[in-house]
């Protein structure tokens, strides 16, 4: 210490590490607050007394490192370099040492002696971390003082350590981070070149390190101080080692790893070990998929066993009496109005509303799975499944979104940087069975297959995934060879679901559905109704039938009559319209519900083919709009043609195989 001045202590640390608490405890009332010169960043300085000696304490801005990334970091390092504090106290968070130590790794490369204040020991202890302070000191080569500043524990010991250092009783021998051998040579070379020109008080070694890191401030400084020729040489070396930033940071992380390994132990317990045990199965490449398939099956089963009786109840006790009443009431006034209300409004749109129980249950199951933390595992194991298809990381993510809705799936392809991969993922996205398509599956399956509905629904999902996988495989083999991108996931800890969160989840999605029912499904079902009675007033001579009969030959390939073809066409506006349209064209509300009418009119083979075509058929208009926006008209038309072909081919195959199988 220089005897001509009051000893100067700098307090460094990341934000929220408890610097203010320590600063206030030490300085009490003898502090003043201002700004750092030329900056709007607060500067706090004060004094404290130990053993009769007065110390100046400066609170440096909170930073995670000492690069030139922010004004705070520049202030902190300039202060240490220029003001040469007698001691730098580096306050670190014991509970998150891995994050706190990066700053220490930088501080020990500067000339001022460092003392580590290991704050928040109480929190670390609560979290089950065991930190061996002596081993930490040995690994760092730096004095470490354990503290809990919030409880005024360890502050006195910290002051004593500072006092000892100032009295010259601190043998400071830090272990500094190393960098890779080849870069170490480059570093030495740069240091040799800049050393004679480095302005005081910058340490040449540190300047060389910062140049190698590509630090803009130091680069500007040295460019101004070095003769042009000398700078040219240095600049060439730096240009050839642009990756050195990674190498330097890498050395610091290796240093942190060794320190943590030496001094911190983390006995596994409670939530963490439960999560690890569950993930051994849930995130396993094979069993994880089995569990996912099981959960999917269970979700269908629950939805059907709990939801369908409710749907029947609503249909029989509310919808049908309502349709009958309105027909009886309105018929004398106007047969048209009676048809509009009973068939168009209630038969089509209203019918969708009886469907709410199914959706609420489905959303609740999804909400629970998400809140428990399972959805992240589902995403992770599905990603494993996508690998053989050549669809890695980035392609997978938007596709997964597609299970909710194809629109964000197509828009989500923007996360993919490679143009070709983006295009192909966008083309595959509409093959994912979205919730709207699943709604149709959920409704129709039990009608045709009764008790086997769970298996059939599961099979339809599987079928669409197989088609997706086959398309993906062809595309990736032909167009996407060698495109690989890693995908890193943080899997949250499993926890007990929160009823409020799930309630909110269900409410938001149900409200979305209702909004769609009123704004899209209802108008379309009214339009379908209008087309089904115009111009002559009977269904058989209507525009709708005319259109249906024109397309029926194609439908016949898949066992579909004109009514089913028309239902498919209307699903272009919104997938749920398939059911609403069937409600209109089958004419419900008289003596039997739509379910019974459908079961009477069509054999299971037709039902199965319709389900298969329905999940593969051209996407809804919103998805087409998204596709056009992302990939342009040409590729959108290609996609429509592609999906139409796939739907017809698969639909026909399913129908004829089912017929052969006796359905």
């Amino acid at each position: 210490m220089r005897s001509d001045r009051i000893p100067l202590v700098a307090l460094a640390g990341q934000p929220n590490v408890g610097k203010s608490t320590v600063f206030n405890l030490l300085t009490g009332l003898s502090q003043h607050v201002g700004n750092w010169p030329g900056k709007t960043i607060e500067r706090r300085e004060g004094t404290f007394i130990c053993d009769g000696r007065v110390y100046r304490l400066v609170d440096l801005p909170g930073t995670y490192s000492l690069t030139a990334n922010s004004a705070e970091e520049v202030i902190a390092r300039e202060f240490i370099v220029r003001e040469k504090p007698d001691v730098v106290v580096a306050l670190v968070d014991a509970a998150i040492l891995e994050r706190s130590l990066y700053l220490v790794a930088e501080l020990v490369s500067l000339p001022a002696p460092v003392i580590v204040g290991l704050n928040m020991m109480d929190v670390a202890h609560q979290e089950g971390l065991e930190i061996d302070v002596q081993k930490l000191e040995a690994a760092l080569g730096v004095r470490v003082v354990p503290m809990s500043a919030a409880h005024n524990v360890g502050v006195r010991e910290l002051v004593e350590a500072v006092d000892q250092a100032v009295r010259g009783e601190y043998l400071y021998a830090p272990r500094r981070p190393a960098i890779r051998a080849d870069h170490a040579e480059v570093l030495a070379e740069i240091e040799r070149l800049v050393s004679p020109w480095t302005p005081s008080p910058y340490p040449p070694h540190w300047v060389a390190l910062k140049l190698l890191e590509g630090d803009e401030e130091i680069t500007r400084l040295m460019q101004a101080h070095l003769p042009a020729e000398q700078w040219e040489t240095v600049h060439k070396i730096l240009k050839a080692h642009e990756d050195a930033l990674v190498a330097v940071a890498s050395g610091r992380y290796e240093w942190i790893r060794q320190v943590i390994r030496a001094a911190v132990s983390r006995p596994r317990r409670g939530q963490i070990s439960l999560t690890e045990r569950l993930d051994r199965w849930a995130a396993h490449p094979f069993w994880g998929l089995v569990i996912l398939a099981g959960i999917l099956g269970l979700a269908f089963w629950l939805t059907y066993t709990v939801g369908l009786p409710l749907v029947d109840l609503l249909d029989a006790h509310i919808l049908q009496p309502l349709a009958g009443l309105s027909r009886a009431g309105l018929e004398p006034i106007s047969p048209w109005l009676a048809g509009l209300v009973a068939d168009g409004l209630i038969g089509g749109g209203g019918f969708m509303l009886t469907f709410l129980p199914i959706l609420v249950i489905f959303f609740a199951i999804m909400g629970i799975l998400e809140d428990v933390g399972y959805m992240a595992r589902a995403a992770y194991v599905m990603d494993g499944l996508m690998h053989p298809m050549g669809l890695h990381g980035k392609s997978f993510l938007p596709l997964f979104l597609g299970f909710g809705c194809n629109v964000p799936a197509v828009l989500g392809t923007r996360v993919i940087e490679s143009r070709r991969a983006r295009l192909l993922t966008a083309l595959l996205a509409p093959l994912i069975p979205c919730t709207a398509r699943m709604t149709v599956v959920a409704f129709l399956t039990p009608i045709f297959f009764g008790a086997a509905a769970t298996w059939v629904s599961w099979g339809v999902v599987l079928l669409s995934l197989v088609v997706l996988a086959a398309s993906g495989m062809v595309i990736s083999r032909v167009f996407l060879r060698g495109e690989r991108a890693a995908f890193i996931m943080e899997l949250p800890l499993y926890h007990i679901p929160n009823p409020r969160t799930i309630g909110l989840f269900v409410w938001q999605r149900t409200a979305e559905f209702l909004r769609k029912a009123v704004t899209v499904i209802l108008p379309v079902s009214l339009l379908v109704w209008a087309l089904s009675v115009l111009p002559g007033g009977t269904m058989e001579n209507s525009y709708l039938a005319w259109l249906g009969y024109r397309l029926e030959p194609l439908g016949r390939l898949m066992g579909l009559d004109w009514r089913l073809v028309v239902a498919l066409l209307s699903s272009f506006i919104a997938k749920e319209n398939a059911i609403a349209t069937l409600g209109v064209v089958m004419g419900t509300g008289e003596d039997a519900g739509l379910a019974r009418l459908l079961a009477q009119a069509y054999p299971p083979a037709t039902g199965l083919a319709f389900l298969a075509v329905q999940v593969l058929f051209i996407p809804c208009v919103a998805t087409v709009a998204a596709l056009r926006q992302e990939v342009g008209w040409r590729w959108t038309l290609f996609n429509l043609g592609f999906q139409l072909t796939v739907a017809v081919v698969v639909g026909a195959a399913v129908y004829w195989l089912a017929r052969l199988g006796g359905l």
């Binding site: 990334n69 040492l97 891995e98 994050r99 990066y102 080692h241 990756d243 990674v246 190498a247 940071a249 890498s250 992380y253 942190i256 790893r257 390994r261 690890e276 993930d279 959706l359 999804m366 799975l369 998400e370 933390g373 399972y374 959805m375 992240a376 995403a379 992770y380 690998h387 890695h392 990381g393 980035k394 993510l397 938007p398 979104l401 299970f403 909710g404 809705c405 629109v407 964000p408 828009l411 989500g412 923007r414 996360v415 940087e417 919730t435 709207a436 690989r484 991108a485 890693a486 995908f487 890193i488 996931m489 943080e490 899997l491 949250p492 999605r509 979305e512 559905f513 769609k516 919103a622």
Partner: protein, 88 residues
């Protein structure tokens, strides 16, 4: 350390943070800190989670009975072009 992490990510496989921690013989917390540093350096992009989840925010806001967020409450990253590029 960071170099080994980048090398692992460039194999194109998908990883959980716990897998990376095991591969590099360290703690998940240090892996997280390194992933965040790589994100800051432009090698990684966060696509899901607290702050960066573009696809998820879009997904949940933009549509229809929108699906659940891909990673639930967790975060997810992918390599950027820079991250995939060849290191000398």
């Amino acid at each position: 350390m960071l170099e080994r992490l980048i090398d692992l990510l460039r194999t194109g496989r998908s990883y959980r943070i716990a897998d990376l921690a095991r591969e590099l013989d360290t703690t998940p917390a240090l892996i997280e800190a390194m992933l965040e540093r790589l994100e800051q350096m432009g090698y990684l992009r966060q696509i899901c989670g607290d702050a960066g989840g573009w696809a998820c925010r879009r997904g949940c806001a933009a549509c229809v009975p929108a699906g659940v967020c891909v990673a639930g409450s967790g975060r997810a990253w992918v390599l950027t072009e820079k991250g995939m590029g060849d290191r000398q």
